[in-house]
Symmetry: C2
Subunit: 481 residues, 2 copies
């Protein structure tokens, strides 16, 4: 049986023994955080001190627990971990998350030797995640990362496999605001047993998971990983942020998870040979996952760009060029129609269409959007809406919230009428302390769009990159509709 | 007399005639916005209709105004502008901002012919800004852009010369939150008379201006511009965002301000031959201006990086590598000292120093910062502070505002004690609507730092790029201290 088939005990354990449960450390509070999150299985506390913690009776060893135990979470100092695993094996525990650090990532022989001992225990039939990790967030199994007691409890279609615990926590947290929901987030650290290939194999089969995202420093089994990506990506998008490719990053990756980060050329080849989507930051990873969930396979490279302020149009055109998107010129008839809608001065009827001002009256906005959506050579529409001018009191352009709502409604109507994807750029209005209220309204507008299947991102660069990643993916897998 | 010497009438006019003043258009409200902003000179309204607007008597022509008038602002449709300028010349008006569009940027012969007429008027001795622009923000002269009635009224050391009105407004607005203050912001549009070279020449001499920033599509006089940049940049930093270099951007630049954007190779040469700082976005332009105002010339390339979460360290190292910064390894003695301060597990004493968690107790944070600041081979410190974990209620790591304040105080103390620049990364905590309050606190922390001369930016990428731009500048001009 391959390792990937043995992971259900990790993601959906009926019972967990927490070895090192204590109120005195960050990770020691795992039982409390699990309960807070809503884990409904049995919890056992194991510790060498005390009688009770978090209302749980304390056992000296997992072997003392009088019932069967499916999984363990291990938090004790590195040198005690091999013995604890020995006891887990004796108890018949099937899988363990090892949060403890102090193994190969230290770069010292002592740590490497300890990690080899973990590998030996794993070889005898217990599946291990870690060491040096933050564990698993799996809403369906009632599991969460640390800190993550307040993460969303509903499952979603995105898996995130992260060699970094920090990024696992950060993405899970950010995702709340974006409305992204996860099937599984795994921080797998040093990957002494279960590595990115095993996890990728599991997620490829996992019915909960529709999109696989990864943060990688260096995969353990290069060739196997490449083959798995090649096979998986045409069926489920695989989005990869490969870090540590610069000389300094490579050194840091080694001291973080003892990874050999590899050379840029090897990674260039991987992305060329497979349909994996390459991203360069956590932000782009999340944007792209969201775009793949929102935009249909018909999303194309030919952009109809609508925005206010000519300089913004130049920046938009530059951003499209850089992302590999196109801005087809509009023909005379379309330009005439746009001219009949727009005020004559300060506007431009080319593509990008320059509305002349960052906010215009809703009928003008809708008329322009509609005209551009009707153009055959336009696949996808990007429109900027500087709603902060509306939300910000005291502004020359200030309208009411109803005015803003009319602008939002216009987008949804055009999207429904023409069936062409519309991506909205909702810029931040300002960074003043006093703008926090307007910012909250901007976020509400973004959420409102999301509920209606429309992607809204705060900058042109992020919008163009996310669209380009989606188009590239569907081009590679030949799924154009 | 060169044109640059004639610009005082534009920036500090004792009186302004607004030709086209009306409540019925966006630009027409210029007199109201000027009064709101605090312009204390004389205002005259000129219009062909009505008797009174904004409480001002309406004249049919500037020639009817019974007093001397120094400057004009022209808002009427393009075809009427030449005649209005003729009347300005007759009246002895020295300078005019022309907001009107419909000239060369239309790409039509009619617009080009109209623009040539403006050039002829200018040749007879009136200085013109525009057409197709948003005008001038000059707090010292009581002038503001549209919309900008609420812009800060105090002057500052930064000039922004922008071919785009949208970017001029956006930067002026953003800058409020950043605490950046301006000497002059000029949206100069098609530059039929006063162009970027004239403005650069003026700002080079302007005692109010210490840093010159520019958004350029295509300069009118390439060779003169190059020479001016070469002469000016060693004395006052010149930060340039050159847009429209991609094929699509170049087309958009033409329809925006009738600019020929030029080839990338020419611009590469300009940045190689001069000390001008090249930036790629409005955000990087503002970050770099702020960094040049905040960081001393001793700021160096060798970074001591302090942060929590190993994956963040890898990203930090990658970001440094990409920006051309270095992360020198720390010697055994320093690492031992760090090991004595940090908890043993999950931390790393290399460079980047991994604190093991995004937020640690203030004495640990200060001890680490101090140890790194004392290292001879470290010039500049970057520290990440995920304060949102503190500001966000209900978090496992949650502390109080006092706890956050102790973390802020630690930075200021170390900065004062070691005299080495510290740049703080203050990440956004989340994008949920509910996080707006925590975000307001984060902004307050940023402002608190700023008042103490410490640069705080929201991401590692922005921090490393801003530092690298400052180091590159001082390397180029040989001003290292």
């Amino acid at each position: 049986m391959d390792k990937a088939s043995q992971l259900d005990s990790l993601f959906f354990p009926r019972s967990i023994a927490v070895v090192g449960a204590t109120n005195a450390s960050f990770f020691g509070q795992y039982p409390r955080v699990l309960r807070e999150f809503g884990f409904t299985g049995k919890l056992f506390a194991v510790n060498t001190k005390g009688e009770e913690v978090f209302g749980l009776k304390v056992y000296r060893s997992v072997t003392e627990i009088p019932e069967a135990v499916e999984a363990a979470a291990i938090i004790i100092p590195a040198r005690f971990v091999p013995q604890a695993l020995e006891e887990c094996l004796a108890k018949g525990i099937k899988a363990a998350q090892i949060f403890s650090s102090g193994f190969a990532e230290t770069g010292e022989e002592e740590g490497r030797a300890l990690e080899r001992q973990l590998e030996e225990k794993a070889a005898r039939g217990i599946r291990l995640i870690g060491p040096n990790c933050f564990g698993i967030y799996c809403p369906g199994g009632g599991l969460t990362l640390l800190p993550g007691g307040d993460f969303p409890t509903e499952s979603g279609p995105v898996a995130f496999l992260s060699q970094s615990g920090g990024h696992a926590v950060e993405l899970s947290r950010q995702a709340q605001g974006r409305g992204l929901r996860f099937s599984k987030v795994v921080s797998y650290g040093n990957a002494c047993d279960i590595d990115e290939s095993d996890l990728l194999e599991y997620m490829a089969r996992d019915p909960e998971t529709r999109i696989i995202t990864m943060y990688l420093e260096g995969p353990r089994e290069g060739r196997r990983f490449l083959e798995l990506v090649r096979k998986t990506a045409p069926k489920k998008p695989v989005i990869i942020w490969k870090a540590g490719l610069t000389p300094l990053g490579s050194r840091a990756a080694f001291s973080h998870t003892a990874s050999l980060a590899g050379e840029e050329a090897i990674w260039d080849a991987l992305f060329k040979q497979t349909a994996a989507v390459r991203v360069a930051s956590l932000e782009e990873l999340a944007d792209t996952a969201q775009a793949l969930l929102t935009l249909p396979p018909s999303t194309g490279r030919r952009i109809g760009m609508v925005g206010g302020g000519g300089g913004i149009s130049v920046a938009a055109a530059d951003a499209c060029s850089r992302a590999g998107l196109e801005i087809p010129p509009l023909d005379g008839q379309v330009r005439e129609k746009l001219a009949s809608i727009l005020p004559p001065a300060g506007t431009a009827t080319g593509n990008p269409v320059d509305l002349g001002a960052p906010i215009v009256a809703p009928p003008i906005f809708e008329g322009v959007l509609e005209t551009v959506a009707a153009v055959d050579s336009v696949d996808t529409i990007i429109a900027t809406q500087a709603l902060f001018y509306v939300f910000r009191a005291g502004d020359v352009l200030a309208g009411t919230d109803d005015f803003a709502q009319s602008l939002l409604d216009a987008v949804v109507r055009v999207n429904e009428r023409y069936g062409k994807p519309v991506v909205i750029v909702l810029p931040l209005g300002g960074e003043e302390v006093e703008m926090a209220e307007a910012e909250a309204k901007r976020r509400k507008a973004r959420d409102w769009y999301r509920e209606r299947g429309i992607l809204a991102l705060p900058t042109l660069e992020r919008a163009t990159r996310a669209i380009a990643n989606v188009v590239d993916y569907y081009d590679k897998v030949g799924k154009r509709s």
